[in-house]
């Protein structure tokens, strides 16, 4: 070969390298995304920023749930280098063994992921991920540690916020937060190990509305894993956004007052604004300070105590306790009978004690009087007329038809079913229908006489206190109700559409006046059972109930609304094992009404007597 031709070999070398490199660059930069991921892993960190949870206000704009700042001591194992365990333990006032155990605990706590197809198990714990070593430290606690953190690379402090309750009331309604479980984390990508989730009450029901929108920051981090600058000038960043505050219908002052009245007693108070269905107060007694269940440490300490307390403070009675309603049920019975036309306002029945027991009072000559005297035989006769309407010649078939009709009336009052309220964990109560008795006695084996105790709200009938209060609201509204609910407005968006719909009962408005008149007399006329609820400046309408029960003394019940014209508050009071409705529940109702409508208490002796009373069934610790 001619030597001059050797230049082609050299040109070939240059070209081969050039083409080879171009192809390689094309592959690395355009086709293969391995390196993009690698770069993200190395230098472009995605940081999630949790906004503080939305604040909750009461109906007067008082802040009832807010946030307080705490600190977590975080670590990333990959960034830890040569940890001086002894010095670190000393900083925390721990022993080195405790430090090692804590690391082991975190790793184990993350669990193991099992690949379903291959069956391969991999631990969820990742060395490059951040985990909290210590949680929920106060400012003082973290300050002591943070001063020396420079000596322990891989550890850093992180700000978190936790709930704080300026009023120590409403624990059962508001609910509490707890760490999200592994399952919840897997289900919803919003949650990360250590993040909080609403565990009960409003916190749980409105979890999505309260948690807000996470912010995501992409930062460039250095080889020492320090953030240097935002990635691409923050082009892809999103800002953490706190959700708008929840405005409740609850009046925290009234709630607190109710809790005060109910101290050392078991039972509930539910107060509703009839026109809007907003729950003004919902007291479950005994209650507890919601601040007891803030944060992991507090929950760990206090939850077991509350859970094992014999008075069951964690049990949300207004929603879940199903009691026989007793005499307050007579109101609904009258309304059904009037609507069905089986009686008129002026129909009288003798007080025949041979049928069912009663106390001594004149014979009732009409519905209003019967309500006033709470005459058991009268309602026995009324309900018999509703159930046995002689629509069939066969008594048993007739009872079946009558009971199912009665049942559908009850349903229209929101009884025997869950109300569509915004707190989960509600119980439906029990209103028996024909199928229910068929199961007990067999089909066509029962008639009114078999099931007569339902007429005075005893026997199988069960209502929750929320449903009782709703009955009072229905009567106050003369025939309709809005689902009782807590949240008035999310931010400033106004009432939620769900809670603007009027639910009409099957009873027309014209049939309510006699019952309302009866309720007025219960409180305001001599011989009425609820005179303890009488107020000088406010016309209170109410009905007492004294519920017999197998577990001991009678429950004291009272439902009421006030004022008679244009009612502003409807309520139900239930005091367990306290005796007659007129003795305990009625005075409590009057105090609540007065407090809410006039913001003052005229009869301080009445108030004192209630507050100081400790009922016999209440177990003092």
């Amino acid at each position: 070969m001619n030597i001059a031709n050797r230049k082609y070999i050299i040109v070939l070398f240059i070209l081969v390298i050039g083409v080879l490199y171009s192809l390689r660059l094309f592959y690395m930069q355009v086709i293969d995304d391995t390196w993009v991921l690698r770069a993200q892993e190395i230098a472009e960190k995605r940081k999630e920023i949790l906004p503080p949870r939305a604040v909750i206000f009461d109906r007067n704009g008082l802040k009832i749930v807010s946030n307080k700042t705490y600190y977590n001591l975080m670590f990333i194992e990959n960034n830890i280098s040569r940890l001086d365990t002894i010095a670190f333990a000393k900083l925390l006032n721990w022993t080195p063994i405790q430090v090692r155990e804590r690391f082991a605990e975190i790793k184990e706590g993350e669990g193991v992921y099992r690949n379903k197809s291959s069956g391969k198990k991999t631990p969820n714990y990742q060395k490059k991920r951040a985990y909290p070593f210590l949680k929920e430290l106060s400012l003082e606690e973290i300050t002591n540690i943070a001063l020396h953190l420079d000596n322990f690379p891989g550890f850093y402090e992180e700000v978190t916020s936790m709930r704080s309750y300026p009023f120590s009331n409403g624990a059962n309604i508001l609910g509490y937060l707890n760490e999200a479980t592994r399952k919840e984390i897997d289900k919803d990508r919003f949650y990360r190990p250590g993040s909080n989730i609403g565990r009960s009450g409003i916190e749980r029901f409105y979890e999505k509305e309260l948690r807000g929108r996470k912010g995501i920051r992409y930062v460039v981090t250095s080889a020492m894993n320090n953030p240097i600058e935002s990635y691409a000038n923050g082009k892809y960043d999103t800002i953490a956004k706190q959700a708008p505050g929840l405005k409740l219908g609850m009046d925290i002052t009234l709630q607190a007052y109710g809790e005060l009245l109910m101290q050392n007693k078991k039972g509930c108070i539910v107060a509703i604004e009839p026109e809007s269905g907003e729950i003004l107060a919902m007291i479950s007694a005994p209650s507890f300070d919601p601040n007891l269940l803030v944060g992991r440490r507090n929950i760990g300490l206090n939850y077991p105590k509350l859970a094992t307390d014999i008075n069951k403070p964690l049990f949300p009675r207004p929603l879940q306790a199903e009691y026989p309603p007793g005499s307050i049920f007579k109101l609904v019975q009258s309304l059904i009978a009037l609507q069905e036309g089986v009686i008129t306002e002026d129909t009288g029945f003798p007080c025949n004690k041979s049928v069912v027991g009663c106390h001594n009072h004149p014979n009732a000559s009409g519905v209003a009087q019967a309500v006033q005297y709470s005459c058991n035989p009268y309602f026995y006769a009324v309900v018999r007329k509703v159930i046995q309407q002689r629509k069939s010649k066969n008594t048993f078939t007739d009872a079946e038809i009558g009971l199912n009709l009665w049942h559908s009336y009850m349903n229209s009052f929101g009884l025997g079913k869950k109300l569509e309220t915004d707190v989960s964990g509600q119980r439906p109560g029990l209103i028996p229908d024909s199928k229910y008795y068929d199961r007990i006695y067999g089909r066509h084996q029962w008639a009114f006489s078999t099931i007569r105790s339902i007429s005075i709200g005893q026997g199988e009938i069960k209502l929750t206190p929320l449903q009782m209060a709703n009955i009072a609201a229905i009567i106050a509204n003369k025939g309709w109700y809005i689902e009782p609910h807590f949240v008035k407005s999310i931010g400033d968006s106004g009432p939620l559409p769900v809670y603007q719909k009027k639910n009409y009962t099957m009873v027309e408005a014209k049939n309510f006046s006699a019952v309302i008149e009866g309720m007025r007399r219960v409180v305001n006329e001599p011989g009425g059972t609820g005179s303890a609820a009488r107020l000088k400046d406010i016309m209170v309408c109410g009905k007492t109930g004294t519920v017999q029960n197998s577990q001991g003394e009678d429950h004291s019940v009272f439902i009421a609304f006030a004022p008679m014209e244009n009612p502003k508050i409807a309520l139900a009071i239930f005091v367990e094992n306290a005796g007659a409705g007129g003795t305990w529940a009625a005075p409590i109702a009057s105090l609540i009404i007065e407090k809410y409508l006039l913001s003052k208490i005229s009869d301080s002796d009445k108030e004192k007597r209630i507050i100081e009373a400790t009922l016999s069934n209440f177990n003092k610790p």
Binding site: I9, L25, V36
Partner: protein, 464 residues
């Protein structure tokens, strides 16, 4: 002699413009990487970009002087320059070491690296020696003398130690090859001792240098890729080993050559050519597989040593940290890049890629401009290199031609190794990317190299 004002018309503009493009891109990249918010002016002389500008200014000033000196002069001063550089290379060995190497002369930021200038000196002397040979450049004596010119500075540089520049010195072997260097006499002497064989010349002996380099390149690629798994398009579940990839690539190149055989050889030569390609493939493939096998067959400590030399293992953590980070930076640039000053992996601040303003400056460039920028850079270098070869071939004076080839091959080496180590094709050897990397000595020496070439070329017609 022609007048100076006609210099502009005789300047090789394509080379000069491609040179200026690279200088400009380099300065822009240094500015982006070393950017300091407190001193945003590019003339902030306390910052690296400011210093780079000073060095560029100095280079252009020296360039002006070079253009004033008559072209004849360069062959005359070759020997004194060479000897002065050797003296400097000796002196530098007595300087305090910086980063483990005695490479710096002077103090602080004003220091220079004589090794950078040794390349020019060697290029000049080698050009002078070979161009003045009366007899053929194929006797053992002349070959050894030429090699000695290379060997003395190379040896002194090895003592610093500076592996990168040492490797670059082997680029002169290509120049010698172009000038007719052959190892045939040696090969023949060995071969013909075997009874019954009496060759007059061998292909291997004639083309010993390129063959040697193909062999070395193959070995390095195979070793560098030995731990790498890759996937073929359409076969996401079947990882292939690095050596398999090399064999596949060789196979496809051979197939391509066979497809275009009509273009590359005359009809008469075709059977021989096909045989050469087939044999070439078989031999190279077996070398690659053999190296791979031999490597994995080595004892662990031996393997570690080789891996260390190749840069497969360099950081204390044990992985190939530098290359991994560099490739992450380059690869994450994507098609269009992250935008100027947008490098996240390879900025000095983030410090994931070490030496990102000097040896690894391709990283921030590729990260910020993506494939779009990379291909422009590679194309500009290719254009420049081919232009220099073209310039070399049009020279009448052998001195000019040989010197031009020296420049071409030095730049080619720097380009190939520097970009190669950023994309995982070459071991991590610390050598700068010409006109790009921050650093006074390298900027100055590369500029001088190119300016002398431009000067020689502008006066090519004067030579009789």
């Amino acid at each position: 002699m022609r007048k100076n004002d006609s210099l502009l018309s005789k300047l090789d503009w394509p080379l000069f413009i491609s040179f200026m493009i690279l200088v400009f891109l380099g300065l822009a990249t240094v500015y982006s990487v070393a950017f300091n918010e407190e001193n945003p002016s590019i003339f902030a002389f306390s910052e690296k970009y400011g210093k780079q500008i000073i060095w560029l200014g100095a280079s252009f000033f020296v360039g002006l002087l070079i253009f004033l000196i008559d072209a004849d002069y360069y062959s005359k001063i070759a020997l004194p320059v060479y000897i002065s550089v050797l003296v400097l290379l000796v002196i530098v060995l007595f300087m305090p070491p910086i980063n483990g190497a005695r490479a710096w002369l002077g103090v602080g930021s004003l220091g220079v690296q004589p090794a950078e200038f040794a390349k020019i000196a060697t290029a000049l002397l080698l050009s002078k020696y070979i161009s003045e040979l009366v007899v053929t450049f194929q006797t053992i004596k002349t070959v050894l003398t030429a090699c000695l010119i290379l060997f003395v500075p190379a040896f002194l540089i090895a003592l610093q130690p500076d592996a990168g520049t040492l490797v670059v010195f082997s680029s002169f072997l290509f120049v010698m090859y172009r000038e007719g260097l052959t190892f045939d006499p040696i090969i023949l002497r060995i071969l013909n001792t075997i009874p019954g064989i009496k060759f007059k010349s061998t292909w291997l002996g004639n083309h010993f240098i390129p063959v040697l380099f193909v062999f070395l390149f193959l070995c390095i690629i195979t070793l560098v890729l030995s731990n790498v798994q890759f996937y073929l398009w359409g076969f996401p579940n079947n990882p292939l080993q690095g050596s398999t990839g090399v064999v596949l690539t060789l196979g496809s190149i051979s197939l391509l050559l066979l497809l275009f055989i009509r273009r590359i050889s005359s009809k008469r030569d075709r059977p021989r050519m096909i045989l050469v390609i087939a044999l070439g493939f078989v031999i190279t493939a077996s070398i690659s597989l053999f190296v791979d096998k031999a490597f994995s067959g080595l004892a662990k400590h031996q393997r570690n040593r080789i891996e260390l030399v190749l840069g497969l293992k360099e950081d204390p953590d044990g992985g190939d940290y530098n290359r991994n980070r560099a490739m992450a930076a380059v690869g994450s640039g994507g098609a269009l890049g992250k935008g100027y000053m947008g490098a996240s992996v390879s900025s000095i601040e983030s410090n994931h890629v070490p030496e990102s303003e000097t040896d690894f400056i391709f990283c921030p460039f590729a990260e910020e401009w993506g494939f779009m920028g990379s291909i422009v850079l590679v194309a500009t270098y290719l254009f420049m290199l081919l232009r220099i070869v073209f310039i070399a071939e049009r020279q009448r004076a052998p001195f000019n031609r040989i010197y031009a080839y020296c420049v071409a091959m030095i730049l080619f080496y720097h380009f190939a190794i520097n970009i190669g180590m950023n994309i995982g094709f070459a071991p991590v050897i610390g050598i700068p990317l010409p006109f790009f990397s921050y650093g006074g000595s390298s900027i100055l020496s590369f500029c001088i190299m190119v300016f002398i070439l431009l000067k020689l070329d502008s006066q090519r017609i004067d030579v009789l």
